[in-house]
């Protein structure tokens, strides 16, 4: 039976199946996070190019989407080329996005009046082909719309990133509805990294991989994007100095 195992044959069969699925007429390329524990949970070893990825915030992040936007910006920063950022609520503060490694010259904003405009602009951007990533901030992402975005992304190999942010925290249960996106992430804020002195350290996030095609769900405690858009594993350390008081004052 040992002769039956032929890695090349298995590879060929995989390629043929992928061809039949229609998703990978080209060789699937991925954008790795550069963190081994995260990349090995994703098929292909990273975020797939030519696919739509959904990112939502957790807790109050469902409304402000602050961490989700930074996480998306970090991914876009690590890709190469121009980025189209479609939104309806222009409350993004770009200095923070620039601190996540995304240069202002690389980002073209497209502000629409309605959700449908954002969807249409995203689809146009994804099928344009010359962009590195297309980011869209959306409240609702129906199945049909996500399918269209996914197909447009597959055609050109552009990464589509959908930042989901809702009007109210209770509406966030909408994130349970199925969509055609390849991966779904939820980013929630965690208490920041402990510092030996008083102050706020590097931001930490709880990153939940809620759904991935051909993969398992996972959870990571990560440090927020650095100046190059990279994240790192940053679990809570058990032994930490007590910095609960602020400069020895009675503030806490």
């Amino acid at each position: 039976m040992s002769r039956a195992y032929n890695p090349r044959m298995i590879e060929e069969l995989r390629d043929r199946i992928a061809l039949l699925e229609g998703s990978a007429s080209r060789k699937a390329v991925v954008l790795p996070f550069g963190v081994r524990q995260m990349d090995e949970r994703l098929p292909g070893g990273g975020l797939a190019y030519g696919a739509v990825h959904e990112i939502a915030g957790g807790g109050s992040g469902t409304v402000d989407g602050a961490a989700a936007a930074l996480f998306a910006a970090g991914i876009a920063a690590r890709s190469k080329g121009k980025v189209l950022w479609c939104l309806t609520r222009p409350d993004l503060f770009f200095p923070a996005i620039a601190q996540a490694g995304l240069h202002p010259d690389r980002v073209i904003f497209c502000e629409g009046d309605k959700e449908e405009d954002v969807l249409a602009s995203m689809e146009e951007g994804l099928s344009f082909g010359g962009l590195a990533a297309v980011v869209g901030e959306l409240v609702r992402l129906p199945m049909v719309a996500s399918r269209r975005l996914q197909l447009a992304a597959e055609k050109t190999g552009t990464i589509g990133l959908v930042v989901r942010r809702w009007r109210r925290q209770t509406e966030a249960s909408d994130f349970g509805n199925p969509t055609a996106s390849t991966t779904r992430w939820r980013v929630s804020v965690l208490p920041s990294e402990e510092l030996p002195v008083a102050g706020v350290g590097r931001a930490r996030w709880l990153l939940e991989l809620m759904r991935v095609k051909a993969g398992e769900c996972a959870e990571f405690e990560i440090g927020a994007c650095d100046a190059k858009g990279r994240v790192c594993l940053l679990p809570h350390s058990a032994n930490r100095p007590d910095t609960s008081t602020w400069r020895g004052s009675r503030a806490s």
Partner: protein, 480 residues
């Protein structure tokens, strides 16, 4: 010439000389239009008088109309002696709507030293009347609001011959409302059919097409149809053919399109326009036809279309350039096609660029999507929130003065205990730009609550001196 020197323009007819235009200084001194020149000289001592030159006025007005044609609307014509009429339908979205279009137009003319009044209305007649009577710089009459807007206007703005107006005044008719309420037959019998026609055109009961201004330099292609067309595919097919012809014509002249108009003539003698703008001069038929065909759904063919005209209203020299070989350097992706497509759909496209300002809301400036890349970015040494509230929100805070971060704060009804904090980062007002901010100070803190949510809060004032601010606390941003 000093601006406060009174200036009048004198028209001549035979030996009669009268004032045909006067500037603000002259009007203030009591000079009126139509006043004899000798009387004006008697009233004002050192009056500057210029002889009227109607042909030069007409030529200047036509130049202005051509500028408006390139800038604002595909259908522009000279209206009488002193006005310009435009059909803004299908072109106002490029300027951000009717309000912005006319206020931009009036402000643009004012910057060139011209005083103008503008009005948008359903009919040519109504817009003509309103601009000549009201004192407001810009007026927008809502759709269907013509009847209400014009009833109070005097009849001399109806574009009737002066004799007719005088005759109607003698009859005691002063306003448009009074005239339109009169029975039509006796009025027509006495003053001819012109009065009824003007009223019908004013109220939109009779169409009044605007014959658009054209110059020989405009590159134009047209197509007449034996049988009216109506199906979207057919329109798209002929639009592509027209674009093909237009680009061939442009190629012989070495031009590229910056702005093009598709004018659609329907069999019922009405007209529609589609205007497409481009960020850079373009001669690529595929890109141009995509921009125009994108908006075919906006065309209402009615009973059919009998004529299509495509005009390159604004054309600029376009040089052919050799494409860089992908072997030598990395190809730079040109995003202008995408910018054109999204921009013509009415989306607001922009990039952001740093401004040297410490005040957070002023440190970001929007620039055009195809503006030159400067490579500039913000200093990365201070943490900045990824979402900035447009209006900082008041929070209730318990904090030690002068420079301790909040211990507890309440935002949007939720009380949060601060676990960690950083600050203050003191930001001074820009007194060199805004005198009111001479002493203003904001102290920014990064605060983190028990759940790990991080906020950017500030106190207006330095905590000691009340001249520096109100000492109220605000939440300005949310960190990711």
């Amino acid at each position: 010439m000093p601006a406060d020197q009174p200036l009048v323009v004198i028209s001549k007819s035979g030996s009669k000389r009268w004032i045909s235009a006067a500037d603000t200084a002259a009007r203030k001194l009591g000079l009126k239009l139509g006043m004899p020149a000798s009387k004006a000289q008697a009233v004002v001592a050192n009056l500057t008088m210029i002889d009227a030159d109607p042909s030069a006025d007409a030529a200047a007005l036509e130049r202005l109309a051509l500028w408006a044609l390139r800038q604002y609307s595909p259908v522009v014509a000279v209206d009488g002696m002193d006005g310009i009429v435009m059909d803004t339908e299908g072109a106002d979205h490029l300027q951000g709507g009717e309000d912005l279009l006319i206020s931009g137009l009036v402000n643009g003319l004012r910057a060139r030293g011209l005083t103008a009044r503008a009005a948008v209305a359903d009919t040519w007649g109504a817009a003509h009347a309103i601009t000549r009577v009201t004192s407001a710089g810009t007026t927008v009459v809502p759709v269907g609001g013509v009847a209400k807007a014009v009833t109070g206007l005097p009849i001399h703005c109806l574009r009737l011959p002066p004799d007719t107006v005088h005759g109607l005044r003698v009859m005691g008719v002063e306003t448009v409302g009074e005239l339109s309420a009169m029975p039509r037959a006796p009025v027509t019998l006495r003053y001819g059919p012109e009065v009824g026609r003007r009223l019908d055109r004013l109220f939109g009961r009779m169409a009044e097409p605007i014959e658009p201004l054209r110059t020989p330099e405009l590159v134009e292609t047209a197509r007449n149809f034996q049988e009216p067309i109506g199906a979207a595919e057919t329109i798209a097919k002929y639009v592509r053919r027209l674009v093909g012809e237009l680009t061939t014509k442009l190629e012989t002249r070495g031009l590229g399109v910056r702005r093009s108009d598709l004018v659609i003539y329907r069999v019922d003698n009405t007209r529609q326009c589609i205007r497409a703008g481009l960020a850079k001069p373009v001669r690529d038929p595929a890109r141009l036809s995509k921009l125009l065909c994108d908006r075919i759904e906006k065309i209402d063919p009615g009973f059919g279309i009998e004529r299509l005209v495509l005009v390159a209203i604004m054309a600029e020299p376009l040089e052919e350039r050799q494409a860089a070989s992908s072997l030598i350097e990395e190809p730079v992706v040109d995003v202008t096609p995408l910018v054109d497509i999204l921009g013509n759909r009415g989306q607001r496209l922009y990039r952001v660029t740093p401004v040297a300002s410490d005040v957070p809301e002023r440190s970001v400036m929007r620039v055009g999507p195809t503006a030159d890349e400067t490579g500039a970015t913000w200093a990365a040494n201070w943490p900045r929130p990824s979402r900035l509230l447009a209006n900082p929100e008041r929070i209730d805070v318990t904090a030690l003065l002068p420079d301790q971060p909040p211990a507890v704060f309440t935002w949007r009804g939720k009380r949060r205990r601060v676990k960690r904090a950083d600050g203050p980062e003191r930001i001074f007002g820009e007194w060199w730009l805004r005198p009111r901010e001479h002493a203003a100070v904001r102290d920014y803190f990064v605060v983190e609550d028990e759940a790990g949510e991080r906020y950017w809060v500030y106190r207006a004032g330095d905590g000691v001196d009340t001249d520096t601010g109100s000492h109220l606390w605000f939440l300005h941003g949310v960190f990711g």
